[in-house]
């Protein structure tokens, strides 16, 4: 006789599905300013709690409060806000292009703009991002020519990647933007390797690794952490927790058992959890971690808490798997509105200027789109000849023969 009951198989469930009321009561939101700001040479053991709380700077009235409130230069704030508005305008327009059949695919970063943009503003020339497909803000914040981004999206005759790569998987070395892979997680560990190289060569450059909540499940994420832990390279390990991975909520990636920031603890890596919709917090924490890396104190993991407002991609329909109102119920709000309010409050911005900026960027995107379209849209423009180039440095005989056979 056994007194063991039959085991049960556990599968985590989100708090709501279509038809349900959105429920974010499980997300604890500490008061802005409540999290301490440790010195950059802190021992990871002393800040374990920072992986469970949420570092926030802006209070509900738009004031910057607490130890992470920095005296951010006005031009930085201004550029940050404008870049976010510009990125949103860009995303909207590119979505339309896809619907018009001018490109095959697009992914928006709506609601997550502050993360890539503020982080980028805290970085220096020569550093290298290993981005995912949702960090277009890194390029837009650096004023990389928008028309070149669209050329890539359209795979046209001026596409810097010659039509070879899927839209939005940009590669822009000069802007510290490593070629984006479509395979999840692979690049998180490469960023660690790049940072190891910087240390091996006695350089002062750092790497920024990027991954989504869902993709932290990939083995490469863990490979990145163990290598970062062992070699202490100058890398910032960014986890963008936007709550969803296509249709899987963050619990399917293990997010209900521990925060994504806490993953770093098993590896002795200092780790911070941050309100990713709070531009001021993102900028301050990014600067802290970047400085830590550059001063030789090693890796930091940062979990940016945010929400994927948009569908996963143009192929996705979130109304099939999450409550319709979930995005408007998201308790951390809209990063653009929050920074806008803060700046209005400080007398740096106004509603009129906001509307003006929206119109201006919408016009900029339209003009850039028009220019890009003059070089061709999907399926017209990119040369078949290019298909055979860049497989190897020197084209081997078999490819030469195949190219000849194709007659290009």
């Amino acid at each position: 006789m056994t007194d063991y009951k039959p085991l049960q198989f556990h599968v985590p469930e989100p708090t709501g599905r279509p038809g349900d009321e959105p429920d974010f009561t499980g997300i604890e939101i500490p008061a802005a300013g409540s999290a301490e700001r440790p010195p950059i040479d802190v021992d990871d053991n002393d800040i374990k709690h920072l992986a469970r709380t949420m570092i926030r700077v802006m209070d509900k009235d738009g004031n910057a409060v607490g130890p992470w409130a920095e005296d951010i230069p006005e031009d930085v704030l201004m550029h940050g806000l404008k870049s976010m508005i510009r990125t949103r305008a860009f995303d909207e327009r590119m979505m339309t292009l896809q619907r018009q059949g001018k490109t095959s695919f697009y992914m928006k970063c709506t609601g997550e703009e502050a993360i890539a943009i503020a982080f980028q503003q805290a970085l220096s020339k020569g550093d290298m991002h290993f981005p995912t497909y949702r960090q277009q803000g890194i390029l837009l914040a650096q004023d990389y020519p928008m028309v070149d981004m669209i050329n890539q999206i359209l795979s046209n005759a001026k596409d810097p990647l010659k039509g070879r790569q899927l839209p939005i998987l940009y590669s822009v070395r000069d802007y510290g933007f490593f070629t984006v892979s479509g395979n999840l997680g692979t690049q998180f560990v490469q960023a660690v390797g790049w940072a190891m190289a910087s240390a091996i060569k006695g350089d002062t450059k750092i790497a920024a690794a990027w991954i989504g909540d869902g993709s932290t499940a990939e083995s490469d994420f863990h490979a990145a952490l163990v290598n970062a832990s062992v070699y202490q390279p100058p890398v910032v390990l960014n986890v963008v927790n936007n709550q969803w991975a296509i249709s899987s909520f963050q619990g399917i990636a293990g997010g209900n058992s521990a925060t994504f920031a806490e993953r770093a603890h098993g590896y002795g890596i200092p780790s911070l959890r941050v309100d990713g919709n709070d531009y001021l917090a993102v900028y301050a924490v990014s600067r802290w971690a970047i400085e830590r890396a550059r001063r030789g104190f090693g890796p930091t993991l940062i979990e940016w808490v945010t929400y994927r407002v948009a569908p996963h991609s143009t192929s996705d329909d979130p109304s099939k798997y999450r409550p319709k109102e979930e995005s408007s119920a998201w308790p951390l709000g809209d990063p653009i509105l929050r920074l806008k309010n803060h700046m209005i409050q400080r007398g740096l911005w106004s509603d009129e200027r906001q509307t003006q900026a929206e119109t201006e960027f919408d016009e900029e995107v339209r003009a850039a789109t028009k220019e890009a379209e003059s070089h061709g849209t999907m399926g017209s423009g990119a040369s078949p000849k290019e298909m055979f180039e860049c497989v190897f440095k020197e084209m081997p005989p078999h490819l030469r023969e195949q190219r000849q056979k194709m007659g290009v």
């Binding site: 599968v11 039509g163 899927l166 990939e218 296509i246 298909m387 078999h398």
Partner: protein, 338 residues
């Protein structure tokens, strides 16, 4: 008989097996509540519960590794890898574990699992949504490799695969999910409702693994192909008037060599078509076997038409894809060469 597209047929196969056998479990990225990005598991979680149909963390090695563990326990996992392009993190589990389990334990432990995965191009998916990695699996000794081309076979072979006591990699050409695509991308898409293989019986039936299908008889040349290229071959036959015998291999490993040999001995010519790259592709194996067994019957060397030896490009998709124009020209050249 019900009309089904390939998605419905695949779902129905899992449904039939899950109803029959409690040991069948289905999981993978987005396959649970949502029902899969291609909807192949839609409705199964609602019907069979979260203990038998569930979402996996995004970790392909974990999907296959846990499936192997479940299979060792006695379950019959049928897992999905969202795109064949994402199967590589699971490759170690497939090659070093699933494929070796029976051999290294002298059949004490086995891996009766199915790995379903959409493959092939034609959807402007770029290099990470278009690959055809079948030859990476036929090469490793110990996994069966299937690639289906229509709803009828898809259901019957998936049931066979789930019932099989060895691991099966089950490729689903995604461009065929909604209709037989013949490579004429500029023409209106056809759907399965007008195709005889879209008639799919209800309930249980099997299509055996290891048996090829002669989809069109002919006397001039044998075309060995599978997946999407079956329809390209049919289009070419029609457009060129060349009397080709078209064989849909369906199962690459085990291979129905008898059907192949009988056909090539009859026609005296053989062309191999696949979407995957040329070098070390499955076509190389086919060409070798055909010349070993049919050398004195061949009037011309075995020809191969395949994807070029480059990563799958995005914009140049139709230059890359071995469509009817390229295949037709090669076939004509083959017919004229003697």
């Amino acid at each position: 008989m019900p009309q089904m597209n390939m998605i419905d047929a695949i779902r129905d196969a899992m449904d039939v097996k899950m109803a029959e056998d409690d040991n069948v479990v289905v999981f993978g990225e987005d396959v649970g509540y949502f029902g899969g990005v291609f909807r192949c598991t839609h409705g199964l979680q609602e019907k069979y519960g979260t203990s038998r149909v569930f979402d996996s963390p995004i970790n392909e090695s974990g999907i296959v590794g846990t499936a192997i563990g479940m299979a060792a326990y006695g379950l019959r996992p049928c897992v999905e890898i969202q795109f064949a392009d994402y199967i590589y993190p699971a490759y170690d589990q497939i090659v070093s574990e699933a494929a070796r389990m029976r051999y290294r334990s002298s059949a004490e432990f086995t891996s009766p699992l199915v790995i379903r995965t959409p493959c092939g191009g034609g959807i402007f998916g770029g290099q990470t949504h278009s690959q055809s990695p079948e030859s990476l699996f036929t090469h490793i000794s110990g996994v069966k490799t299937v690639i289906v081309s229509n709803p009828y076979d898809a259901k019957g072979m998936l049931i066979s695969a789930i019932e099989d006591d060895d691991p099966v990699i089950f490729f689903e050409p995604k461009r065929l999910y909604n209709g037989p695509f013949d490579g004429h991308h500029d023409r209106p898409a056809k759907n399965w409702s007008t195709h005889p293989k879209g008639d799919v019986p209800e309930g249980h039936y099997t299509v055996p693994i290891g048996k090829a299908d002669v989809v069109s008889e002919g006397s001039d040349v044998t075309i060995l192909t599978y997946g999407t290229m079956v329809y390209v071959a049919e289009a070419v036959k029609q457009e060129t008037g060349i009397d080709a015998e078209i064989i849909d291999l369906r199962s690459l490993l085990p291979l129905d060599i008898d059907t192949i040999v009988a056909s090539v001995k009859k026609t005296g010519r053989c062309m191999v078509l696949h979407e995957a790259t040329l070098t070390s592709g499955f076509g190389a194996e086919l060409a070798a076997q055909v010349q070993e067994r049919c050398f004195y019957h061949l009037e011309v060397p075995v020809g191969r038409v395949t994807g070029w030896d480059t990563p799958y490009p995005h914009a140049q998709e139709w230059d890359y894809f071995p469509g009817p124009a390229r295949v037709g020209a090669e076939l004509k050249a083959m017919m004229e060469s003697v």
